[in-house]
C-alpha cells in the first residue's frame, strides 16, 4: 500500500510530481519518434520556408545592403538573413505539427480526459509535460536542420558573449510561453469540438506575431506596437533579437527578459483560470 490503511494518502510530494511529469514528457517524446518519416517532410517544409524568405529579402533589400528599422537602427542584409533562418528554425521547433496545438482536443473527443482526471497529478501540468515531450522530440531534428537552413538562408555569430548568454536565458521563458500558449488555446475544445477554425487562426496569428515571417523591427510601427503587446513575440522574436544584438544594452535586455517572464506568469494564471472554467464544464455538466 502507498499509505497505512485507514489514512488518506497525502498529495504526491514535489519530487514525486517532478518524476511523474518527467516520465510523461519522456513518454510523449518517444511516442513522437513513431512519426520519424513525418519529421523528414516537416524539415523539408522548414528549409523551403527559409529559402523562400531569404530569396524575398535578398530581392527587396536596398543596394546599400542596409535598411533602417524602428528607432533608427540599421539592419544589414546579413543580419536579416540570419534572423529569418534562426527565427524560422526556432518557431518550427516550438510549433507542433498537427492541426491542434496539443493532444488535448483529441483527448476531449475520445473521452480520455476521464483517465487524465483520475491521475494523482493536475491535468494542466500533465498536458504541459506532454507538450514539452513533443517539443523535445523535435529538438534533434531542429539541430540537424540548422546547418542546411543556414545554407538556404544565412548565419551570424552572436553579437557578443553577453548576447549569447541573454539568448540562452531567454530560451527558457520562450519555451515555457510556447507550451502555455498551446495548452491555453487548445482548451477551446472543452467548449466546442469544432475548433479547427480557431486553431488555424491561432496558427497564423501566432506565426506572424511571433516574428517568424517578418521581424518586429520591419513591421509598420502600429503593428510592431501591437506585436509588443501580445505574448507571441516572446517565443521567437525576443530571443533571436537578443542573439543578434538588436536588443542591446543592460536596460533593454533586462526589460526584454522581464517581459518574457511576466508573460510566463500571466499565461500560467490564464491557463489556471481557463482550466477552472473547463473543469467546471467537465465535472458539473458532464462534458
Amino acid at each position: 500500500m502507498t499509505s497505512p490503511r485507514g489514512l488518506a494518502p497525502p498529495r504526491l510530494t514535489l519530487r514525486q510530481r517532478a518524476v511523474a511529469h518527467a516520465g510523461t514528457a519522456g513518454l510523449h517524446a518517444r511516442a513522437q519518434l513513431a512519426y520519424r518519416a513525418d519529421f523528414v517532410f516537416r524539415v523539408l517544409w522548414l528549409l523551403l520556408q527559409v529559402y523562400l524568405l531569404a530569396l524575398v529579402w535578398r530581392a527587396v533589400y536596398p543596394e546599400s545592403g542596409t535598411a533602417p528599422a524602428h528607432g533608427g537602427q540599421q539592419v544589414t542584409l546579413a543580419t536579416q538573413l540570419a534572423y529569418v533562418t534562426y527565427a524560422s528554425v526556432q518557431n518550427w521547433l516550438l510549433t507542433p505539427a498537427g492541426l491542434a496545438p496539443t493532444p488535448i482536443p483529441q483527448r476531449v473527443r475520445e473521452g480520455s480526459i476521464a483517465v487524465d482526471l483520475s491521475r494523482p497529478v493536475a491535468f494542466t501540468t500533465q498536458m504541459l509535460a506532454a507538450q514539452g515531450g513533443i517539443v523535445l522530440a523535435a529538438a534533434p531534428f531542429a539541430v540537424l536542420a540548422l546547418p542546411f537552413a543556414v545554407v538556404a538562408g544565412g548565419a551570424r555569430a552572436p553579437a557578443s558573449a553577453g548576447a549569447a548568454s541573454a539568448y540562452a536565458l531567454s530560451l527558457v521563458p520562450a519555451v515555457l510561453n510556447a507550451l502555455l500558449l498551446a495548452v491555453v488555446v487548445s482548451m477551446v475544445s472543452f467548449w466546442t469540438l469544432e475548433a479547427v477554425g480557431v486553431f488555424m487562426i491561432h496558427r497564423v496569428v501566432a506565426h506572424f506575431f511571433a516574428g517568424a515571417l517578418i521581424p518586429l523591427w520591419f513591421m509598420p510601427s502600429w503593428l510592431a506596437d501591437l506585436a509588443q503587446l501580445l505574448p507571441f513575440q516572446t517565443t521567437t522574436y525576443t530571443p533571436i533579437a537578443l542573439y543578434l544584438g538588436h536588443i542591446h544594452g543592460t536596460g533593454p535586455v533586462l526589460t526584454a527578459l522581464a517581459v518574457q517572464c511576466g508573460w510566463t506568469a500571466a499565461l500560467w494564471l490564464i491557463m489556471r483560470l481557463v482550466w477552472a472554467r473547463a473543469l467546471h464544464r467537465v465535472v458539473v455538466q458532464g462534458g
Binding site: 502507498t2 490503511r5 504526491l12 510530494t13 511516442a31 483517465v115 494523482p120 455538466q285
Partner: protein, 335 residues
C-alpha cells in the same frame, strides 16, 4: 478503520445538454441563446460498502452505472447527495483520492496508444509515486498473472481487445490501490480472456483485500465474482443485497426437467405445489415441472414422477441470475 470505505447517500447527477434550435440560422441561434434539456441520470442512489467487499453494480443500458462510477472516481461532481470514498470527497480532493483508487473503463484505455505496453506500465509507476523496486516487483507479478509477457513490447494500438484489457487491468492495479472501479472490464472478450480477468479480479479481492465495484452486463461475471449486487434502473436502486436472496425473491421456483421414455405419455403428478411450467419450451417427450423448494421437497417430486412414468433422464435446474434479471427488467417495462 471501521465503518464503510465507500458511502453514497442520496446521490444524484443531472446532465444539462444544449439542444440545437431548429429552423433558419439554427446553429447560430443555438450558440447565442442556448436552450438546454436536463437529464437526471442518477436519482437518489444510496449504498455503503465495507472494505474488502466485491459488489456488482448492475442495471440496463442507460441506468446510470457509468455516471455513478464517474462520481465515485471524482471525474464528475454530484448534483446532489454525498459521496465519501476512504474518507475523501472524490471531486473535491481529486489528486489525493486518485492515490486510493484504480479505474478501468472497458470502453476506453488508459494506456498510451503509440507505445509498447511496457512503457505505459512503467509510466504508471512514476505517475503514482510508486517506489522503483516495488513497482518492478509488482509489474513482474502482474505480468505473470495476466500473461502479459508475449505482448509487453507490442504497441498498444496493435493489441487485441483481450490483450489490451489485461494491460488496462494491470495498469489500474499497479499502484496497489485500496479500491478498484471496473466499468465493464469484460466487454467484448472471449470466454478464455474473461476467465483470466475474473481470476485476477477475484484474487486481488481475496488476497490483497482490494474493495471492488464491478459494472457489467455479463451475469456470469456476477455469478462468479459477487456475493452482493446493487441493481439500479433509471437512476434508482431497485435491489441491494445478496445474489442468493435476490434469486429467492424474484425466482423462488426450481425446475425439474423430465425426459420421458419413447412413446410414454404424461399422466401428471399429484404433489401439492407442483405444476407444469407453462413458460418452459418443452421438446417432445419432455416435461418441465415448477415448484418452490421451501414448501415442497425435491425428493418427493422425483419419487412421485418415477412412480407413474418411465423416465430416461431427470435434471434439476437452479434459477439463474440471467432469468432473474430478465424478469426484473421485463416487469419494469410492463409497469
Amino acid at each position: 478503520m471501521s465503518g464503510p470505505i465507500i458511502e453514497v447517500e442520496g446521490l444524484a447527477k443531472e446532465y444539462r445538454r444544449p439542444v440545437r434550435v431548429e429552423g433558419p440560422l439554427g446553429g447560430l441561434r443555438s450558440l447565442l441563446s442556448p436552450r438546454h434539456v436536463t437529464k437526471r441520470a442518477v436519482d437518489g442512489v444510496s449504498f455503503a460498502l465495507a472494505e474488502g467487499e466485491l459488489v456488482g453494480y448492475l442495471g440496463p443500458n442507460g441506468a446510470g452505472k457509468s455516471t455513478t462510477i464517474k462520481m465515485l472516481t471524482g471525474i464528475l461532481r454530484p448534483t446532489a447527495g454525498l459521496v465519501r470514498v476512504a474518507g475523501l470527497v472524490p471531486w473535491r480532493e481529486r489528486e489525493r483520492h486518485a492515490r486510493n483508487i484504480g479505474v478501468v473503463f472497458g470502453q476506453r484505455t488508459q494506456l498510451w496508444w503509440d507505445l509498447p505496453l511496457r512503457d505505459s506500465l512503467e509510466l504508471i509507476g512514476r505517475l503514482y509515486g510508486v517506489e522503483r523496486a516495488r513497482h518492478r516487483a509488482t509489474t513482474a507479478r502482474f505480468t505473470e498473472l495476466l500473461g502479459l509477457g508475449p505482448f509487453l513490447d507490442t504497441p498498444v494500438r496493435q493489441l487485441s481487445l483481450g490483450q489490451r484489457m489485461r494491460g488496462d487491468l494491470a495498469a489500474a492495479m499497479l499502484p496497489e490501490p485500496r479500491i478498484l472501479f471496473l466499468d465493464e472490464p469484460t466487454i467484448g472478450l472471449d470466454v478464455v480472456a474473461k476467465e483470466r480477468i475474473r481470476d485476477f479480479i477475484a484474487t486481488r479481492n481475496r488476497r490483497d483485500g482490494t474493495t471492488i465495484v464491478l459494472t457489467t452486463h455479463d451475469l456470469d461475471d456476477v455469478e462468479r465474482l459477487c456475493r452482493r449486487i446493487v441493481l439500479i434502473d433509471d437512476g434508482r436502486v431497485l435491489y441491494d443485497g445478496d445474489v442468493a436472496r435476490l434469486k429467492e425473491r424474484y425466482a423462488p421456483h426450481r425446475r425439474l426437467v423430465v425426459q420421458l421414455a419413447d412413446g410414454a405419455g404424461w399422466h401428471g403428478v399429484r404433489v401439492p405445489g407442483v405444476a407444469r411450467d407453462d413458460e418452459a419450451d418443452d421438446a417432445p417427450g419432455q416435461v418441465t415441472l415448477r415448484f418452490d423448494p421451501a414448501g415442497t421437497r425435491v425428493a418427493d417430486v422425483i419419487t412421485a414422477v418415477l412412480a407413474r412414468h418411465e423416465v430416461t433422464d431427470l435434471s434439476l435446474v437452479e434459477p439463474g441470475l440471467e432469468g432473474v434479471v430478465h424478469r426484473i427488467y421485463a416487469a419494469r417495462g410492463a409497469a
